[in-house]
């Protein structure tokens, strides 16, 4: 049962991108604060839970770490359902993994939209930045421009190994998810405005509101 007095938000977040770009490592770093060069390849999907304090609220992030092989695409795409945000990860030392980013993004947007028709918040992670920045510098790509064109809400050079920018990227994603949610909540209120709802509005979080 939902408890109206206790504010808690729960979000499903996808972590996608080519095979071996470091999705599992990023999650391990973010959730367990450690790094090992020896993670096993992910088969299917792995899970992790991160609990955050956010403006006196508890935010629980369900992280879905999805295997990167293209072949599994049809199989794992059903896991996109109901996600509120996503990280798309590439490996800065492997150009091909960057080329795949647009493919992952298009795929995500075509399979998943929010209730208001918008795409889910997606942050781009340029991982393994401790090992050089080949892709970023050689291609002369303006990352800001790339993000704008492809609908990313932000991008970060990350290193799961050196713990660079992981928390920052996650905070950015959570910020956008919450903003999206508030947006939807507002438009929902406008759509279905009624005295009763108006009165209750103050004390409920978005998910309680929806389940009423």
């Amino acid at each position: 049962m939902q408890n109206n007095h206790h504010k808690e938000r729960l979000y499903k977040i996808l972590v996608i991108g080519d095979l071996g770009v470091g999705k599992t490592s990023i999650i391990k770093r973010y959730v367990h604060h450690n790094f090992s060069p020896n993670y096993r390849a992910t088969i299917g999907v792995d899970f992790a839970l991160k609990v955050l304090n956010w403006d006196q609220e508890t935010v629980r992030l369900q992280l879905w770490d999805i295997a990167g092989q293209e072949r599994f695409g049809n199989m794992t795409r059903v896991y996109y359902r109901e996600a509120m945000g996503a990280f798309i990860v590439f490996d800065v030392t492997r150009p091909a993994s960057f080329e795949a980013v647009t493919k992952w993004k298009e795929d995500l947007d075509s399979k998943l939209t929010l209730a208001n028709g918008k795409n889910v918040a997606t942050v781009l992670l340029a991982n393994k930045c401790d090992q050089g920045r080949d892709v970023l510098t050689n291609n002369g790509i303006k990352m800001e421009q790339f993000c704008l064109e492809n609908g990313f809400v932000g991008w970060y050079e990350t290193s799961a190994k050196e713990n660079i920018n992981i928390d920052e990227a996650a905070n950015c994603l959570v910020k956008h998810i919450i903003a999206n949610e508030n947006d939807m909540l507002q438009s929902e209120v406008l759509d279905t405005i009624s005295p009763q709802l108006e009165k209750d509005k103050g004390g409920t979080c978005s998910s309680c509101f929806r389940s009423q």
């Binding site: 939902q2 729960l10 499903k12 095979l19 071996g20 060069p37 020896n38 993670y39 096993r40 390849a41 992910t42 088969i43 299917g44 999907v45 792995d46 899970f47 992790a48 839970l49 629980r60 369900q62 295997a67 092989q69 293209e70 072949r71 599994f72 049809n74 199989m75 059903v78 896991y79 359902r81 109901e82 150009p95 091909a96 080329e99 795949a100 050689n138 291609n139 998910s207 929806r210 389940s211």
Partner: protein, 397 residues
């Protein structure tokens, strides 16, 4: 006997301090003696425990060496007539001695495909040629930020194999670059992609090939690998044949409900569909999620009983952890099942598997599966489909 600091307890206070009252001295003496006695008792207990463990280990070793004699002298020479007997099947369930394990696996899996060591060499040569030309073209194309050729090759498996090998049993440190089995694993997987270009390399294969390499010599490992993947269940999964995989999941759920009704309901209310954990378990035949020694025992049974045993193992795991799982919500169950406890023991898992009955209303696994295949559409729910409600319980927990 007390040494150094502990002995100080018995000493009086330094002269510049008032002396201890005699009751206190007495009490300290008693306390000290009690401590010494407790330490002795602990030591005794430890020693006894060690003795018991040694005894158990010796017993296990005896069992294994006896079993080894039986397998080598009696069973293997007359494999075809012996393999189905009650006695052999019982011995088999108790675990194959490591020294005959590979041999029994390869006999049990067979060689329907009639692959020879020579054929393996041919495919291996082809793979090596491909690697060579691949590395040449990709270095040429490098400046053009990956030409079309390498893009087309993205899914051609070579890259993927390289990336996955080092992530196969990483804790053993033998398959990584520079490790003793790195090249071997590379060869077996590469040769397979040349042998079956229609399937290519699929994640999960590296784990299966690795387990075989640990138990068989190179060509034999390849032959067994190819034949193992050719089994209907493995073919369905490695071809990523959705419809067929769904049938397997549906059959699994029938036995799940039959065996563990409470947990089944709990999983359903939490929307925890079997694909979420079975994909990993089936693709790697449990070698990724179970400790390696336990996984090998599971493989023993798989070689004896076929695909049915894979689902029985899954149910055994769920039975083993039923009490814990019943207390968990969606994300914790999902997390738990994707990383099973390291201290999972073979005998507890096997007890749970033995308690799992692969009978549903008098139908065996194969019959249940056939029935599902026949009625086609029925029960053909797409996995991950979140029942009728718009918001999933998984996200409400």
């Amino acid at each position: 006997e007390p040494l150094s600091t502990t002995a100080l307890i018995l000493e009086d206070r330094p002269a510049n301090l008032p002396a201890k009252p005699s009751e206190e001295t007495q009490r300290h003496k008693l306390e000290y003696e009690e401590m010494v006695a407790a330490a002795k008792r602990r030591e005794m207990k430890e020693a006894q425990k060690k003795k018991r463990q040694m005894k158990e280990r010796h017993r296990q070793e005896d069992i294994i060496s006896n079993a080894m004699i039986v397998w080598n002298n009696e069973i293997l020479p007359q494999w075809d007539t012996m393999k189905g007997t009650r006695r052999v099947r019982d011995l088999w369930w108790q675990g194959l001695p490591p020294s005959v394990r590979g041999r029994v696996w390869s006999l049990a899996i067979g060689n329907e495909l009639n692959i020879t060591a020579e054929l393996y060499k041919i495919f291996l040569c082809r793979a090596k040629e491909k690697w060579r030309s691949y590395s040449e073209t990709s270095s040429v194309n490098d400046s053009e930020s990956d030409g079309g050729a390498s893009l087309a090759d993205r899914e051609s498996s070579l890259d993927l194999i390289k990336l996955d090998i080092s992530r196969t049993f990483p804790s053993l440190f033998i398959f990584q670059k520079g490790g003793p089995y790195h090249d071997l694993l590379h060869s077996v997987l590469g040769a397979y992609t040349c042998y079956r270009p229609d399937i290519g390399y699929v994640q999960g294969m590296s784990f299966i090939a690795a387990v075989l390499i640990l138990n068989l010599e190179e060509a034999e490992a390849f032959i067994t690998f190819a034949n193992l993947l050719n089994k209907p269940c493995q073919m369905a999964f490695f071809r990523v044949d959705h419809d067929l995989m769904l049938k397997y999941f549906a059959a699994f759920e029938i036995f799940f409900e039959e065996n563990l009704p409470r947990l089944f309901t709990h999983f359903q209310t939490n929307n925890l569909t079997p694909d979420l954990y079975l994909i990993d378990w089936i693709f790697t035949l449990y070698s990724r999620s179970l400790p390696l020694d336990v996984a090998c025992r599971v493989w023993d049974v798989f070689c004896r009983d076929g695909e049915e045993s894979l689902f029985r193992t899954g149910l055994g795991i769920l039975r083993l952890y039923e009490d814990v799982l019943l207390q968990m919500d969606f994300i914790h169950i999902a997390q738990f099942l994707s990383r099973l406890p390291d201290d999972l023991h073979t005998h507890t898992l096997f007890n749970a598997m033995a308690a799992t009955h692969m009978l549903s209303r008098n139908r065996r696994w194969a019959q249940v599966f056939c029935a599902l295949m026949k009625d086609g559409g029925g029960g053909n729910r797409e996995w991950g489909e979140r029942s009728s409600s718009s918001s999933s319980p998984a996200l409400r927990s």
